[in-house]
């Protein structure tokens, strides 16, 4: 088991390096000058040159990449071009907010998804299954920024029940475990939960239905085992597939949806990414992409390890 963990950890290194290289070069391939956000277009040549020098952007790209990577490894993601704040501080704040939103959306989406999936699998082919499947397909297909806008129009503008934007009254620093703050979470979390709900429903339905019809379940039934204990066996066998999917979905949620967070002005990583793109704030952009990508890598690793605990066959493969 230890060697499996070690091997999986080793794989992370080349993946992380490739991720860093890709995110650095993609950002620099995008059109526009990296200092557009800070230098007015009619700035004299010498001012442009001086500022480019001051930000270290006059050096060859390879050198810039090397020094960026060197500092990133030590946990220093540089300083935002636009604000001068350390990138890491901005990312930490945003990650906290996104984690909150992602967790709420995951609880909602995974909870409803598993429930619907199991119900559909048990009643496969029947009207309950069709309804559950229809809900799942709607969840996956609906453009979630549109859904967000719709929810805002209904619940904020017309009914005036819930706030339309922001993370808490007076900013996310004032967030607390009370209804006054939780109100802000409702609409974005519901919006974000739709896609994982749909995907988890479909995955659970397929996995559970398949196992329910497998021979060992029939054997268990024939042995006269109670349905609660059968359910335990079914759950254990379906878990690896479902966990893999939920892990990926949670990764997506953690990435923070640019669209949903922008629609709700939710100060998370998606919103931060949006700001960085609009301001062409390259250090911030690189930092956010790198951290999110590493989250994905880490989450995949975690899911792999959990799967191998649940199903020892994977370790041997």
């Amino acid at each position: 088991m230890l060697s499996f963990v070690f091997r999986r950890l080793l794989y992370v290194i080349p993946i992380a390096l490739a991720v860093a290289a890709v995110c650095f070069s993609l950002v620099h391939l995008a059109p526009g000058d990296p200092l557009t956000a800070v230098i007015p277009p009619d700035a004299p040549q010498e001012v442009v040159a001086a500022i480019t020098r001051a930000y270290g952007m006059d050096r060859p790209l390879v050198v810039q990449f090397g020094s960026w990577l060197g500092r990133a490894v030590q946990g220093d993601l540089g300083v935002s071009v636009a604000t001068g704040r350390p990138v890491l501080i901005d990312i930490q704040r945003a990650l906290g907010n996104t984690l909150l939103l992602a967790s709420a959306a995951a609880v909602l989406g995974f909870g409803i998804g598993i429930l619907l999936g199991v119900v559909a699998a048990v009643h496969i082919g029947g009207p309950i299954d069709r309804v559950a499947t229809a809900i799942a397909i709607t969840g996956v297909s609906i453009p979630h920024y549109w859904l967000g806008l719709l929810l805002v129009v209904v619940f904020s503008v017309y009914l005036d029940w819930l706030p339309s934007m922001g993370a808490a009254s007076g900013g996310s620093a004032n967030w607390g475990w009370n209804w006054d703050s939780l109100r802000y979470l409702v609409l974005p979390a519901v919006t974000m939960s739709f896609i994982p709900m749909g995907i988890v429903t479909r995955t659970v339905r397929a996995a559970v239905a398949e196992i329910l019809h497998s021979e060992f379940v029939m054997a268990l039934r024939a042995k006269g085992m109670g349905s609660a204990r059968i359910a335990l066996h079914v759950g254990k066998n379906a878990a690896p597939t479902i966990m893999a999917v939920m892990g990926l979905q949670f990764g997506y949620l953690l990435g923070g949806s640019i669209l949903v967070e922008t629609v709700f002005s939710w100060p998370g990583t998606g919103y931060l990414l949006n700001t960085a793109i609009f301001q062409r704030d390259i250090p911030l952009l690189q930092g956010v992409i790198l951290v999110l990508a590493m989250f994905f890598v880490g989450l995949n690793l975690l899911v792999d390890l959990l799967q191998s605990f649940a199903d020892p066959r994977i370790r041997r493969g």
Partner: protein, 552 residues
């Protein structure tokens, strides 16, 4: 969030009063009551403003986020030597003295300007504003060797003060600024130079990052708290020097909401009281629900900037005039739900420098066709041109729809245009590269909007022969000796009346030569809750927040 130094000042005052004899306290209280209408004039209320920026603009004295930054964290927290009078809606905002009470230009050496500073002005931290503070701030952005040099502030300010060369303290309340060449336009550039407190910067350990969280200027508002990307809270500066501009609201909360629909929803659901630039299609609905919509033309131009390279059809003045006569600006105004002032030149029609050009820009397709025929063009031989456009971008209004409508209108007189659509960032970067650059893809005009609040911004950077790439933004390599001579004349004319007269001639010459397709000026719509009172929308990129408050 405020510095402890500020509170400690209040604490000292309180402990003093404990030792004061009772009758003196009574007298003091009486005096305070008498002074109240002067000092604490706040009518009250909190105004929450949804900005289009995606972050709180920098607060240390050189805001980013373009003119929106200058509007919200520049002119609120800070003052300049000279600024605009934004109290009137019916004329383009004129320049007025602010921290400088008066100034003069040396007759022996017209590069040297003497500024007499206002006395008795204090920064928010209580330290005095004086000549040392002025020199400190110019060095902050212009002198890389000074300890207070800040590259981020320099990036915002230096390009806006191209005339500046050096500064010298003459005495406690007098400074001398020298320009690179004799240049009357220094005065137009000074509103962008704000003054941060040197004492407060020292107190914060010479750290501009800390100053950002806890700034100190001389402006009518103080920063009470700052949550990056979420909100900034401004409160009145009770010691502001200009009694006619005491802040009336108790708090102004700035909230960045870059997404236009989210901004409108935030207003509709009562989370903000005021939004900048609401989406055009929400205006009728907002109005019908009782929200106030304000708008006013301001110094902004939506043009096509023509190329004057050899292959450009716009080299022929008849063709330029014909295009200007073929555009039906009223149709475009309808397309924009009224949110455009039809252009009759580079400047707003009511600008004192507009003048009386011989060429009248109006919709006259017959005249356009006659001019084209004169130059040998006709239905069988149309003018053909390619235009660089974007589908979005800061200040671009609704570029795609507007360009497509113009394309149809021009086609009716025999001018056939095609578009090269670029990403906004690429279009913007190409502005400086010029028409000759491969990034221009051989296009004959570019469609980028700009500010026209002073002669440099409106004209010199685009139309002076010396502004050709890579020096500045004369994208099309326009060169006109009459315009160049008038620009030179304008730079060296220091008398305000005469200066205006030269500026007027310059504008007339430009309208007559038509190096642009002049289309329209934006009107900067804003939407506000019914309770917001006191706002006067000036004909400017900038607005005064001091009279704004919540009506009872």
């Amino acid at each position: 969030m405020r510095s402890s130094s500020h509170h400690s000042g209040a604490a000292v005052a309180e402990s003093d009063s404990v030792r004061t004899p009772p009758f003196l306290r009574l007298v003091a209280a009486g005096l305070l009551i008498l002074m109240m209408p002067l000092a604490a004039t706040a009518n009250g209320g909190t105004i929450r403003i949804g900005m289009t920026a995606s972050d709180i603009p920098l607060t240390s004295g050189a805001p980013n986020s373009g003119f929106e930054g200058v509007r919200f964290t520049g002119m609120t927290l800070y003052d300049a030597l000279v600024s605009w009078d934004l109290s009137q809606a019916d004329q383009p905002a004129p320049l007025v003295p602010q921290l400088a009470e008066s100034w003069s230009v040396s007759e022996e050496d017209p590069r040297v300007w003497t500024f007499n500073l206002r006395q008795g002005v204090e920064f928010h931290d209580g330290s005095p504003f004086n000549a040392d503070a002025v020199v400190f701030n110019f060095d902050k952005v212009f002198d890389e060797a000074s300890p207070q040099f800040d590259a981020r502030q320099a990036a915002q300010v230096v390009a806006r003060l191209p005339a500046y060369e050096s500064i010298r303290k003459v005495d406690e309340y007098t400074v001398e600024i020298t320009t690179k060449t004799p240049d009357s336009m220094l005065i137009n550039q000074l509103p962008f130079m704000f003054f941060s407190s040197p004492a407060h910067w020292e107190a914060l350990g010479r750290d501009w990052g800390a100053f950002e969280q806890d700034p100190s200027g001389t402006g009518p508002f103080r920063l009470s708290s700052l949550e990056p990307r979420e909100q900034a809270v401004l409160v009145p500066n009770a010691n502001y020097w200009d009694e006619s501009r005491m802040a009336q609201a108790e708090r102004i909360v700035l909230v960045p909401i870059p997404e236009a629909t989210t901004r409108a929803n935030a207003l509709l659901s009562g989370q903000v009281d005021w939004i900048e630039n609401p989406p055009a299609d929400t205006l009728p609905m907002l109005e019908s629900r009782g929200f106030q919509i304000t708008s006013n033309g301001y110094p902004h131009l939506w043009p096509w900037q023509f190329s004057f390279l050899e292959d450009s059809p716009w080299l022929d003045r008849n063709v330029r005039h014909a295009a200007n006569l073929a555009v039906n600006r009223e149709e475009i105004q309808v397309l924009l739900a009224g949110n455009m002032v039809p252009a009759q030149g580079l400047l707003l029609p009511g600008d004192p420098a507009f003048g009386n050009p011989d060429f009248t820009i109006e919709y006259d397709p017959e005249q356009a066709m006659a001019l084209l025929a004169e130059s040998g063009f006709g239905p069988d031989n149309p003018v053909e041109a390619t235009i660089l456009i974007s589908t979005s971008g800061s200040g671009q209004m609704q570029p795609q729809e507007m360009n497509e409508l113009i394309q149809q209108q021009l086609s009716q007189v025999g001018i056939e245009v095609e578009f090269e659509v670029l990403v906004w960032e690429s279009l913007f970067d190409n502005w400086r590269q010029g028409a000759e650059h491969s990034g221009s893809r051989g296009a004959h005009a570019t469609n980028i909007t700009f500010a026209t609040h002073d002669p440099f911004a409106a004209i010199i950077r685009f139309l002076d022969t010396n502004s050709a790439p890579p020096n500045s933004l004369n994208w099309g390599y326009y060169s006109n000796s009459e315009v160049d001579a008038l620009i030179a004349d304008l730079r060296e004319t220091f008398d305000a009346e005469e200066n205006l007269s030269v500026y007027r001639q310059l504008h007339e010459a430009i309208v007559e030569d038509a190096p642009y397709l002049f289309v329209g000026h934006d009107t900067g719509p804003r939407a506000m809750a019914p309770g917001v009172a006191g706002f006067v929308q000036a004909q400017s990129w900038f607005q005064d927040l001091t009279p704004v408050h919540m009506a009872d």
